[in-house]
């Protein structure tokens, strides 16, 4: 069979090869003989230039349609190294108002890819660019393009959430293409950017367009899509105002605990992202970097702090849900400290005998030392993770920190299995020690209590779907939720509650917990809490080195909520 078929296969092979080789020959004949002169002309005098037209970048707005970021036209000037006459450098430098050395530096760097235009100056106004436009015929290889300039309308309020854009450093992209560098601009870049259009032009040695290239069709740009944030610009403004009044670095987070929408994520101090879109100068950049308060740093989710006493919410829930204590348990009284070995674990005053509700309301450390001894560090760490600690909560916030939940493995690898003991558990039980959490995580923690474990993962982009609750359903214990909720209410309404004085005139019920985080220097002031009326929201305020949670952070939380609710009536 093989030998009979081989004759057939032999001719099939040869026939196929003849057809393929004839196709190549015909194409070569067309390119080299028929169109040879055209291509030789292109090759010797003219070049093909690819002209990209930028796609309009999508808008970013808040939940009520307030425009936060849009684009306005501006101009960029670029040069094609292979067409540019280097004797004109001085002239161009004067026209563009940049230094001659800087200009020749840009050009020599770009000369390795001579056909690709390199940006000389970006974000120029019409007035400025017109002087170049008048002289362009004298300077071959210079191009002027329209490039949309990103404009931020509430720059200081939203600089950390939205971030900023800049020229892309992707070598494959065209001149002047912008891309998100931080924030939502970065994480939603693929949605916002669209697709640039392109056409090909044949240009002569002077950079004049001879004709449109005949060969491939041009493509229209496809605009980027808009992004709607869950944030309320009004609340964000109020929160920034309140933060700035304190003069401290800090953050305010407000989340709707029924649907997980982040209504406010303010971080102070802030900066003006418009500096970046118009091209930041070296001086401005150095000033930003030199600022010891680090305004580029987002404290709402990129910073992690010890949650301090606010973490007692988690410890209390763990103790109750695991049955280690109940609402009637009253351990030995608090005399102001507890001695373990030769270390003294202090409390901030002597509280006497307390139950769990009073211990939460008065934030007694000794109560939690005495009760946490009954459990293990790993069990507490497990509950901390249920409440959202130890891993980032969202996917779209760039640089969101995980925080840190120390468990036995972690301590073993850090200190060795002999290097730590019960003291570490006691420290973690009151939110100190190695424990670290972002303000976003702390607000979500209060949201878990408010929603009885049903708060979805926080989200900041409207178009994202509501996600599943992060608190595991099997860990829900309604009586434990009741008791912790009561403790947070007593914090505000009982005579000895840490927030009694702050929320005395607050017209709605508030459930809260304060924290005062030990650190080098003055303590960080923290408050977490929630309201059910008029809106189901949970709040976290943190003030770096602000002093006490009740006296420093508490009033900020109250004033933010008060002016927001009263304003939106």
């Amino acid at each position: 069979m093989f030998r009979d078929k081989k004759q057939w296969s032999f001719f099939a092979y040869l026939l196929m090869a003849v057809v393929l080789f004839l196709m190549l020959g015909a194409r070569l004949f067309y390119l080299q003989i028929v169109k040879g002169d055209y291509y030789r002309g292109l090759s010797s005098q003219n070049h093909i230039r690819v002209i990209n037209s930028p796609a309009p970048r999508g808008l970013i707005s808040d939940r009520n349609g307030v425009i936060l970021a849009d684009s306005r036209p501006s101009f960029i000037v670029s040069a094609v190294p292979s067409e540019f006459d280097s004797s004109k450098i001085a002239q161009v430098a004067i026209l563009l108002d940049i230094e001659e050395e800087a200009l020749s530096g840009i050009l020599s760097e770009a000369s390795s890819v001579p056909h690709r235009p390199v940006v000389l100056r970006e974000s120029m106004s019409v007035e400025h660019v017109s002087s170049i436009a008048e002289n362009i015929y004298r300077i071959p290889g210079i191009l002027i393009d329209v490039a949309p300039l990103r404009r931020y309308h509430r720059p200081e309020d939203f600089c950390h959430i939205i971030g900023y854009v800049g020229l892309t450093d992707n070598p494959e992209s065209f001149r002047g293409e912008i891309t998100g560098k931080t924030g939502i601009e970065l994480s939603m870049n693929e949605v916002l950017q669209g697709k640039p259009g392109l056409q090909r032009e044949v240009v002569d040695a002077m950079g004049r367009i001879v004709e449109e290239y005949r060969g491939t069709e041009s493509e229209e740009p496809i605009p980027g899509k808009n992004v709607i944030l869950t944030v309320d610009a009004e609340l964000q403004r109020i929160a920034m105002e309140q933060l700035n009044e304190t003069g401290l670095s800090g953050a305010v987070i407000v989340i709707n605990y029924e649907n997980g929408e982040i209504l406010c994520a303010a971080s102070s101090p802030s900066f003006d992202p418009n500096m970046f879109s118009r091209g930041i100068s070296r001086d401005e950049w150095n000033t930003l970097l030199a600022d010891s308060a680090n305004p580029l740093f987002c404290r709402a989710w990129a910073a992690a702090y010890p949650p301090a006493s606010t973490f007692k919410i988690v410890t209390a829930y763990w103790l109750l849900a695991e049955g280690l204590i109940d609402v009637t348990t009253m351990p030995a009284p608090c005399y102001g400290s507890l001695t373990l070995g030769d270390t003294e674990f202090g409390c901030w005053t002597s509280h006497g005998r307390l139950n769990i509700v009073q211990a939460l309301a008065q934030s007694c450390d000794v109560f939690f030392y005495r009760t946490s001894e009954l459990g293990t560090l790993d069990a507490l760490a497990e509950y901390a993770r249920y409440f959202g600690f130890g891993s980032s909560l969202t996917e779209v916030l760039p640089n969101e920190r995980n925080g840190l939940v120390p468990d036995e493995d972690y301590l073993n690898s850090t200190y060795g299995s002999e290097g730590w003991g019960l003291g570490n558990l006691l420290n973690v039980s009151i939110g100190q020690g190695e424990l670290l959490a972002t303000p976003l995580q702390m607000a979500a923690m209060a949201g878990v209590i408010a929603s009885r474990g049903r708060i979805p993962r926080p989200r900041i982009v409207m178009q994202q779907e509501e996600s599943e609750p992060f608190f595991p359903a099997e860990a829900i214990n309604n009586s434990a939720f009741d008791i912790v909720t009561d403790g947070m209410l007593q914090t505000v309404i009982s005579p000895k509650g840490t927030l009694k004085r702050v929320f005395a005139d607050f017209p709605w019920d508030f459930w809260g917990k304060t924290g005062t985080a030990e650190c080098t220097g003055e303590t960080h002031a923290i408050i977490v809490g929630f309201v059910r009326e008029p809106l189901p929201v949970t709040i976290c305020v943190i003030l770096e080195h602000g002093g006490h949670g009740s006296s420093a952070a508490g009033p900020v939380a109250r004033d933010v909520l008060l002016s927001y609710f009263e304003g939106s009536d």
């Binding site: 069979m1 092979y13 090869a17 393929l20 080789f21 040879g36 690819v50 056909h115 090909r200």
Partner: protein, 402 residues
């Protein structure tokens, strides 16, 4: 013609077209390397050529019977080499294994192993047919194809499949049989356009009718392919836009992200500007101005075309055609099925590479990283292809051996 050892003289046409192509390759790389800032490309290629000549001699002297015995072993080692590339691969797209000064492109070597193992399988099926034997051949070669595709080097993976299909044709399997075999892929592709789809269904029906298949087979092929075609757009639309574009980039990594087709346009201008007689050796303007991409590797043909014009291109194409013709003649006269299949596979290898690579530089084929045999810079490819040519010469001399 026949000497004392019972062998023919070496095929003079084959040898001379080989020498012509080799010289064209060296000249093109020399010309391209004058503008590539990278270290001594021409010198490296000369060194590789010395290795290549040894590989050629080895190929021409090896015993085909021994080669047949070790074919499966060769294939397994090549799969391991491909697997190793995935873990320790370096260079562009992680396709190279780097051992000291040696840069190995394992997918090039893999093609030789693929030809050997396919020939081994098909010739053993001739002697002793098995149920589903053809399927076994495909199952055997799939690891090499998949490992190449995930490098990612889809162009090479597709060329591997085409070589294997061509060897099936040589082994006497009808074209209809092969179309049935690849019908799911055709179904997925043709689902993009209703006319393609109608044409494909007609073709399928004609094949099924001509081969007199029973009704269940009809149902399986028509139904199965309809399901594949119906699911393709659904699966495609379920992907997010960015996933689609990632998939497209994966399928065609050589495509530049902004779709400006810069490489192809510059290559066409280069080739076209060569005109009838070319701009003269070392005189190519496009090459000189660095407009031409990958001048010494994928687009080396454009350098040759620009500098020697239509005349030079015809010389090159004629040499390739003569080479292919002699390979096919050798394959036809070989008595032993294994020898015949190996030689036919090598012929398919040459034809596919020549058409895909030159077609790419002329803008009639998509951009894939397939090199032009003998001409493109690259040691692994040169040594492999010269070894294969040695095998062809060998098969031609000992064609009477059973």
């Amino acid at each position: 013609m026949i000497d004392l050892l019972g062998r023919d003289r070496p095929d003079i046409v084959l040898l001379s077209s080989l020498i012509v192509l080799f010289l064209i390759g060296m000249a093109s790389i020399y010309s391209a390397s004058t503008v590539v800032s990278e270290s001594d490309l021409f010198g490296k290629q000369v060194v590789w050529s010395v290795f290549g000549i040894f590989a050629f001699l080895a190929g021409s002297m090896i015993s085909f019977r021994r080669l047949e015995e070790i074919s499966p072993l060769v294939f397994v080692s090549i799969c391991l080499l491909l697997l190793l590339t995935i873990f320790i691969g370096r260079g562009p797209a992680n396709r190279w294994i780097i051992i000291g000064p040696l840069h190995l492109q394992s997918s090039e070597i893999a093609k030789a192993g693929l030809i050997l193992v396919t020939a081994w399988w098909l010739s053993s099926l001739k002697v002793r047919p098995r149920k589903f034997g053809e399927a076994l051949v495909f199952i055997t070669i799939i690891p090499a194809v998949v490992l190449t595709a995930v490098q990612p080097d889809l162009g090479t993976a597709v060329s591997m499949l085409l070589i294997v299909l061509a060897m099936f044709v040589w082994a006497g399997y009808g074209l209809g049989w092969i179309i049935l075999l690849v019908s799911p892929i055709l179904a997925a592709v043709s689902s993009m356009n209703i006319f393609f789809w109608i044409g494909f269904m007609l073709l399928l029906s004609i094949i099924l009718y001509k081969r007199r298949y029973p009704v269940p087979i009809w149902i399986a092929f028509i139904g199965g392919n309809s399901i594949v075609a119906a699911l393709t757009p659904i699966a495609w639309n379920m992907l997010e836009t960015y996933q689609q574009s990632r998939l497209i980039t994966f399928l065609n990594p050589a495509n530049d992200p902004h779709g400006s087709g810069w490489n192809i346009i510059q290559s066409e201008v280069s080739v076209g500007s060569g005109g009838f007689s070319g701009q003269g050796f070392l005189q190519g303007a496009q090459k000189e101005l660095a407009f031409l991409p990958a001048r010494h590797t994928d687009f080396v043909f454009s350098v040759w075309a620009e500098e020697t014009g239509f005349v030079g291109c015809m010389l090159l194409l004629t040499a390739f055609f003569l080479l292919f013709w002699r390979i096919t003649v050798t394959a036809r006269k070989s008595v032993n099925p294994f020898n015949s299949l190996v030689t036919a596979g090598i012929g398919a290898y040459v034809a596919i590479h020549v058409f895909v690579n030159i077609g790419m530089t002329l803008g009639i084929m998509p951009v894939t990283g397939l090199p032009l045999p003998f001409i493109s810079y690259g040691g692994s490819q040169l040594v492999t292809v010269l070894f294969l040519m040695g095998l062809v010469l060998n098969a031609g001399m000992y064609w009477r051996e059973v």
